[in-house]
């Protein structure tokens, strides 16, 4: 049987899974905008923000919610080879597996798409698009021009590169959704929902406002950082529970462990 702290630790393992999705006010708004944009005659939708702001999670949730109702395909990891990318697009649209030695001709794919005009609308969700080459992005643009294929792409927002200004996005992206870190209230809600999802209400009660404030002070509301921090906290808890149980008080959230986790993650320079 898993210990309580092991269970808590596993809640905060950073995975993109629809079952672990936590709906917050800010994410709910972004999700509704994203969902409604698919019904509009847009060629492309851009979802961008800093790493850990929940872009992949939102994309994943969209896929799982809509996969039963419309033609939607989710490429959770970038396909960097052009040959593989075109093959995957064709396979997804046609439902035919292409033999390994065969390749998809881009012109033929365009013609195939044009034949399907006003008959079908296929949505492709592409994560981590900042890794795609310029040439591949150009092909994505041309495919979206057929209005048979619609792309929802996610990009990391970087300080040096203004991706929206890029030519192939400037003229085609009609919907831009910017994702940002959670505020203090949303972050507390996020932790609360995660812990309560496993029915560990007693433990949640030991956490005070000051603890959430402390966590927010280090993670700044970034979901990935929050997951990492809480995972480390419960990892230390688990160790004490197994090896030195006298050092932890189950009725009181330990500030010492909170600080130790911050030291381990380098938030504090000790």
């Amino acid at each position: 049987m898993n210990s309580r702290y092991e269970e808590l630790k596993n809640i905060f393992v950073d995975i993109v899974d629809n079952s672990t999705y936590v709906e917050l006010d800010s994410t709910a708004y972004n999700y509704s905008v994203l969902k409604s944009s698919l019904d509009k005659p847009l060629k492309m939708v851009l979802l961008y923000g800093k790493p850990g702001t929940g872009k992949s999670m939102l994309l994943n949730r969209l896929y799982h919610e809509l996969k039963e109702y419309r033609e939607i395909h989710y490429f959770n990891s970038p396909i960097l080879s052009e040959k593989e990318f075109l093959k995957s697009i064709y396979e997804a649209m046609s439902g035919v597996d292409i033999p390994v030695q065969m390749r998809v001709n881009f012109d033929a794919l365009l013609k195939y798409c044009l034949k399907l005009k006003e008959q079908r609308e296929v949505v492709f969700l592409l994560d981590e698009c900042q890794l795609y080459s310029e040439a591949l992005m150009e092909k994505i643009r041309l495919l979206s021009d057929t209005r048979v294929v619609k792309f929802v792409i996610t990009l990391h927002k970087t300080d040096n590169e203004d991706v929206i200004a890029k030519e192939h996005f400037k003229t085609r992206i009609w919907e831009v959704i910017e994702m940002s870190n959670a505020n203090e209230y949303d972050m507390e809600l996020y932790i609360q929902k995660k812990i309560l999802s496993k029915g560990l209400i007693d433990f949640f009660k030991t956490m005070k406002k000051s603890h959430f404030k402390y966590i927010y002070g280090h993670t700044l509301g970034n979901f990935r950082e929050t997951n990492k921090y809480l995972y480390t906290i419960f990892d230390i808890y688990e160790y004490y529970e197994k090896n030195e149980p006298a050092k932890i008080d189950n009725k009181k959230f330990s500030k010492k462990i909170l600080e130790m986790a911050a030291i381990r993650l380098g938030y504090i320079n000790a």
């Binding site: 230390i236 160790y239 090896n243 010492k256 600080e259 130790m260 030291i263 381990r264 000790a270």
Partner: protein, 278 residues
């Protein structure tokens, strides 16, 4: 397990740091505040020590300016005092400017014994009040080319009286050894070297006291030729003329000087001559 022990150790160090740092900051702030207070306090002391002598100087100079025609004015003229002036200029420019004013005022080596007495009384009072003030800050009379008031005061009197006059003013320090015989010669040789109208005036005064009115008239005229703004030269010249029986001429000279200067002293002397008091 070992890693967590290390982490615990790091946390312990961190806690010590977080507890000690505010204490160190507070204590260092306290130290800074105390040292600032000390420095400020010291500065105040310094200011007081700088201003005290200059204030004293102003007082002394005030006296010297009052007795413009007295020995104090002469004292300021000497080279040593000029050096002091330079020193004080560095400390307090206001004092130096007042010193300049004094040095530019006409300096006549005429002794007014009453004023001299007053000056010494003031000096004494200042000395007793400011015993703690360094001696270098005081204006001292020193050996110079001019005769001190006491020496001049001694001239027409007996040697017994000289001792009695010298005692309260402690002029023994000067070691002045001139006699009645060589005094006039000394001044004359000095005048021949310096061509200073005040030396001539001194001789005029000396001869007038010795009832040698002819010589007095001669030396007063010499002084007046060199510097006609010396009031005393006009007076001595006129008084000598009167003594020589040239009352009309004396009055003429004094009236012309009175018209020029509007001096009350000249007017008083005219009245005295008219009344035959001289």
């Amino acid at each position: 397990m070992r890693k967590l022990e290390e982490l615990e150790h790091k946390w312990f160090n961190y806690k010590i740091k977080t507890i000690l740092m505010p204490m160190v900051k507070v204590s260092s702030l306290y130290l800074v505040a105390v040292s600032l207070y000390y420095v400020y306090d010291k500065k105040e002391h310094l200011f007081s020590s700088v201003y005290a002598p200059s204030h004293h100087m102003t007082k002394v100079l005030g006296v010297s300016m009052e007795s413009n025609n007295s020995v104090m004015a002469r004292v300021v003229q000497t080279e040593e005092t000029k050096q002091e002036e330079i020193k004080k200029e560095e400390v307090a420019p206001s004092v130096s400017s007042s010193l300049e004013k004094v040095s530019f005022a006409p300096v006549i080596p005429v002794i007014d014994m009453e004023k001299e007495e007053r000056v010494h009384h003031v000096k004494k009072r200042v000395k007793t009040k400011r015993k703690h003030v360094a001696k270098s800050n005081l204006v001292k009379a020193k050996a110079n080319a001019y005769l001190t008031p006491k020496e001049l005061g001694v001239m027409g009197k007996s040697s017994a009286k000289v001792v009695s006059v010298q005692k309260p003013h402690k002029t023994k320090k000067m070691h002045f050894t001139s006699t009645r015989a060589n005094y006039a010669e000394t001044i004359k040789s000095k005048f021949s070297k310096s061509n200073n109208p005040r030396d001539a005036l001194l001789l005029a005064k000396l001869y007038y006291k010795k009832n040698n009115f002819k010589e007095a008239e001669k030396w007063a005229l010499s002084a007046n030729k060199l510097n006609n703004s010396l009031e005393e030269s006009w007076f001595l010249f006129a008084k000598s003329k009167v003594k020589l029986g040239k009352k009309h001429e004396a009055l003429k000279i004094l009236v012309s000087y009175y018209k020029k200067s509007n001096s009350t002293k000249a007017k008083a002397l005219i009245m005295q001559i008219k009344m035959g008091k001289i």
